[in-house]
C-alpha cells in the first residue's frame, strides 16, 4: 500500500483526489506504545497483575487502532486493521502457552537431572531418596522399538500395495478409507483393543510390554502408510517405465528403483511416526501398566514407560509430594527432549538423503 503524497493541494472542487487519507506508517507502532502505556499504568497504579495488564494492553490496541483508522480512513480500512490486529493477537495467544510450557518444563525439570536420575530405577525408593527413570527409559525404548518393528513393514507394504498394485481398485479404496479411520482412533481405545486382544490368550488382568507395542503400532501404522504413500506417489513414472522397458520385473523395479528414490521421505515419515507414539500415555497405562523395577522382557509382566512414569509421579507422588513432582518434571523434560530430537533428526534425514535430482 503506497501512500501518494498529495502535492500542494489543488482546489478540491475541480479535481478528485486519487487516494483517500491514510494513517501514517508508524500508526500501528504508536498505537502499540499507547496500549503498553495504558497497561503499564494499570499495573502500577491499580496494582493489576502482569497477565491482566498485558490483556488490557492488547484490548486497548485492538480498539484504538481501528477507531483511529475509522476516523481517518473510513470503515473498510478500519475493519481491515481490526482483523489484522486480531490475527496477530490470535498468534500471540497460541504461542504464549507453548513458551510457558517449555519454560515451565525446563525450569522445573532441570534440577532433577543428574547421572543417577538416568541410571537408577524406582525400586525401593521412598520419600525424597534418589530415584531415577532408568526402568522407564528401558521400557519406552523396548516398547517403541517393538511397535516400530511391527508397523514399519506393514505400513510400507500397504503403501506399496496402494500405489503400485491396487491403483483405484476396490480393496485399495477400502484400505484408504480404513487408514483414515485408524488415524482417528483415540489412543485410549487402541489400548483397550490391545487389552481385549491379550485377555483372550492370557486371561483377565493381563499386563505386558508387547501389548503396549501392539497398541502403539495401531496408532503408528496409519502415519507410516500415509507418509510412505505420499512419497511413493512423488516418484516419477518415467523411472518405473524405464525399468519396465529394460525388462526388469516389477518387484525388482520397486525394491531397486522406487523405494531408493523415495527412501529419504520414508525414513523421515517413520521417524516422525516414532516421535508421535513415543509420548503416548493412555494405551500404555492400560496394557503395559506400572512398575518400579527394571524389566527387559516384553512378553512378561508389567513394564514401566516414561509417559506412564510421569503420570504416576504426579498422581502418586509419595511423601513429600515435591519429590514426586520433581521426578515428574524431570521425566517430562527428558521426554520432550527425546521427541524434539526425533523431529530434528527427521528433518536432517529428509535433507541429507534427498534423492539427487537434475540428472
Amino acid at each position: 500500500m503506497t501512500i501518494l503524497e498529495k502535492s500542494p493541494a489543488p482546489e478540491a472542487s475541480d479535481s478528485l483526489p486519487l487516494t483517500g487519507p491514510r494513517l501514517p506508517g508508524f500508526a500501528p507502532a504508536l498505537a502499540a506504545v499507547a496500549a503498553l502505556a495504558v497497561g503499564g499504568v494499570a499495573a502500577m497504579v491499580l496494582g493489576a497483575g502482569v497477565v491482566a495488564a498485558a490483556f488490557l494492553a492488547i484490548v486497548v490496541f485492538v480498539v484504538v487502532l481501528p477507531v483511529w483508522s475509522a476516523a481517518v480512513e473510513g470503515r473498510r480500512s478500519a475493519v481491515d486493521r481490526l482483523v489484522g490486529a486480531l490475527v496477530w493477537v490470535a498468534l500471540l495467544a497460541a504461542v504464549v502457552p507453548l513458551f510457558s510450557l517449555l519454560w515451565t518444563v525446563i525450569s522445573n525439570g532441570a534440577p532433577a537431572l543428574s547421572p543417577e536420575f538416568f541410571t537408577y530405577s524406582m525400586r525401593s525408593v521412598f520419600g525424597d531418596a534418589q530415584g531415577g527413570i532408568y526402568h522407564a527409559l528401558i521400557g519406552t525404548v523396548l516398547i517403541t522399538l517393538a511397535a516400530t518393528v511391527i508397523s514399519v513393514p506393514v505400513g510400507i507394504f500397504t503403501a506399496i500395495y496402494l500405489v503400485e498394485y491396487g491403483v483405484k481398485n476396490r480393496l485399495a479404496r477400502a484400505i484408504t478409507f480404513l487408514v483414515d479411520v485408524m488415524t482417528g482412533i483415540p489412543s485410549i481405545v487402541a489400548g483397550l483393543f490391545a487389552y481385549a486382544l491379550f485377555v483372550l490368550f492370557f486371561g483377565p488382568g493381563v499386563r505386558m510390554g508387547i501389548g503396549g507395542a501392539v497398541a502403539l503400532s495401531l496408532l503408528m501404522i496409519p502415519v507410516v502408510v500415509r507418509s510412505t504413500e505420499e512419497m511413493l506417489k512423488l516418484v516419477p513414472h518415467e523411472l518405473r517405465e524405464a525399468a519396465y522397458a529394460l525388462g526388469v520385473p516389477k518387484w525388482r523395479t520397486i525394491t531397486k528403483v522406487v523405494l531408493p528414490t523415495a527412501m529419504s521421505g520414508i525414513v523421515t515419515g517413520v521417524t516422525l511416526a516414532i516421535a508421535r507414539v513415543i509420548g503416548e500415555t493412555a494405551p500404555l497405562l492400560i496394557i503395559a501398566g506400572k512398575t518400579d523395577s527394571v524389566n527387559f522382557n516384553l512378553f512378561d509382566e508389567r513394564m514401566a514407560t516414561l509417559p506412564v512414569f510421569i503420570y504416576y509421579s504426579y498422581t502418586q507422588p509419595g511423601l513429600p509430594a515435591s519429590a514426586g513432582y520433581e521426578r515428574a518434571w524431570g521425566a517430562a523434560l527428558v521426554l520432550i527432549a527425546i521427541v524434539m530430537l526425533l523431529n530434528v533428526l527427521a528433518r536432517v534425514i529428509g535433507k541429507a538423503f534427498a534423492p539427487k535430482t537434475g540428472r
Binding site: A93, V189, L285
Partner: protein, 322 residues
C-alpha cells in the same frame, strides 16, 4: 502439488502385469503387499470385534461396577455429556485462534517469519499429551483459579459461571482450555495448507478491484477454503473427544461426574477417556467390561465425527493430508 496421474500409471500395466506375475519374486512381493493391506483390515475388524465382545458383559453389569449408576445408558450418557462439553469448549476457543494463526502464516507474516512460525506449530503438535497434562494442572490451572474467582464474583449471574469457583483450577473449563491448546496445531496445519492453495489469480483479482486485505481474504480465500476449514475443525473435534491424559490429570473427579453447565465449579463432569484412564489400572471383574463398553461408545463417536469430516472434504473434491 502432489499429482498422481492415473493415465501414466495405467500405461505400463497391460504388458507388465501379464509377464511379471509369472515370476516367483513378483508373486511373493505382491503377496506381501496384499497381506500387509489385509493386516490393516484385520486390525480394524479386530478393534470392533474385541471391543464388542469384551464390552457386551459391561452393558448388564452390577451398579457398583458403574459408579452407582443404575444402568449402562445412564452411566454412558453422563460421560458422553462431559466428553462433548470439554470438546466443544476446546473447539470454541481453538477454531478462531487457529484460523487467525493460519492466516498469519499464509497471508500476513513475511515469508521468512512464516516458515519459522510453521515450525513452531509443528513443535506445539509434538509435545506429548501427558506433558500438557502436567503443565495444565501444576502451572496453568492454579493460575486460572484467580480468574475463576473473578468470574464468579462478576459474572456469577450467568449459569456457566455460577461457581463456587474452584481455586485449584481443576475444572472442566481448564480441561477444555488445555485441550484447545492441544488441538490448535492440528487445525492450524490443515487451514494453513488450504489457505496457501487458494489460486493467486483470485487473490490478485480481488486486490486489483480495490479490496483491502481482509476483503480479499473474505471474498477470495474463505469461499475457496470453506470445506477445508470445516473438516479441519471436525478433525480437531475428533482429537479433542479422544484426548485422555490432559483431561484425566486436570479433572480431579473419578467416576462419572455430574451433569452441569457450570464450567468453573468444583463439581465437574468427566469424560469417557479420562474416566477409563483413571479407573482402568485398578479395575477388575465387571468394571473392566463397563470401561471397555464406554471405550466402544467413544470409538463410535469419534468414528462418526471423522467420517463426517472426510465426507465434507470428499464432496468438495479437495485433497487433505493428515
Amino acid at each position: 502439488m502432489r499429482v498422481s496421474s492415473p493415465d501414466t500409471v495405467k500405461a505400463p500395466k497391460p504388458s507388465s502385469s501379464r509377464s511379471s506375475t509369472q515370476r516367483p519374486g513378483d508373486r511373493i512381493f505382491r503377496g506381501l503387499s496384499v497381506g500387509a493391506a489385509c493386516v490393516i483390515l484385520a486390525a480394524l475388524a479386530g478393534v470392533a470385534i474385541f471391543l464388542t465382545v469384551e464390552g457386551i458383559p459391561g452393558l448388564s453389569a452390577d451398579p457398583h461396577a458403574m459408579s452407582g449408576q443404575a444402568n449402562f445408558f445412564g452411566y454412558a450418557w453422563r460421560l458422553v455429556f462431559g466428553t462433548l462439553l470439554a470438546a466443544v469448549i476446546a473447539l470454541v476457543v481453538a477454531t478462531p485462534l487457529s484460523i487467525g494463526m493460519a492466516l498469519v502464516i499464509s497471508h500476513y507474516a513475511p515469508r521468512k517469519i512464516a516458515s519459522s512460525l510453521g515450525y513452531l506449530v509443528d513443535l506445539l503438535a509434538a509435545v506429548p499429551s501427558v506433558v500438557y497434562g502436567l503443565w495444565g494442572i501444576l502451572f496453568f490451572g492454579p493460575r486460572l483459579g484467580d480468574l475463576y474467582r473473578w468470574l464468579e464474583a462478576n459474572l456469577g449471574w450467568i449459569p456457566l459461571f455460577a461457581g463456587p469457583a474452584a481455586g485449584s483450577g481443576r475444572t472442566i473449563l481448564t480441561a477444555g482450555l488445555v485441550l484447545a491448546i492441544m488441538i490448535l496445531p492440528i487445525i492450524t496445519a490443515i487451514c494453513r495448507e488450504i489457505f496457501a492453495q487458494t489460486p493467486t489469480l483470485h487473490q490478485e483479482a480481488a486486490l486489483a478491484l480495490g479490496a483491502t486485505r481482509w476483503e480479499m481474504i473474505r471474498y477470495a480465500v474463505f469461499p475457496y477454503a470453506r470445506s477445508g476449514m470445516v473438516s479441519a475443525t471436525m478433525l480437531g473435534l475428533g482429537r479433542a473427544l479422544g484426548e485422555t491424559m490432559a483431561v484425566a490429570m486436570v479433572l480431579s473427579s473419578a467416576g462419572v461426574g455430574t451433569i452441569t453447565w457450570n464450567l468453573i465449579s468444583t463439581e465437574n463432569p468427566n469424560t469417557i477417556a479420562a474416566n477409563i484412564a483413571r479407573q482402568f489400572p485398578e479395575a477388575s471383574g465387571d468394571a473392566v467390561n463397563v470401561l471397555i463398553a464406554s471405550g466402544l461408545v467413544l470409538f463410535v463417536i469419534t468414528f462418526i465425527v471423522n467420517f463426517a469430516a472426510r465426507a465434507v472434504v470428499a464432496r468438495s473434491g479437495k485433497k487433505l493430508n493428515g
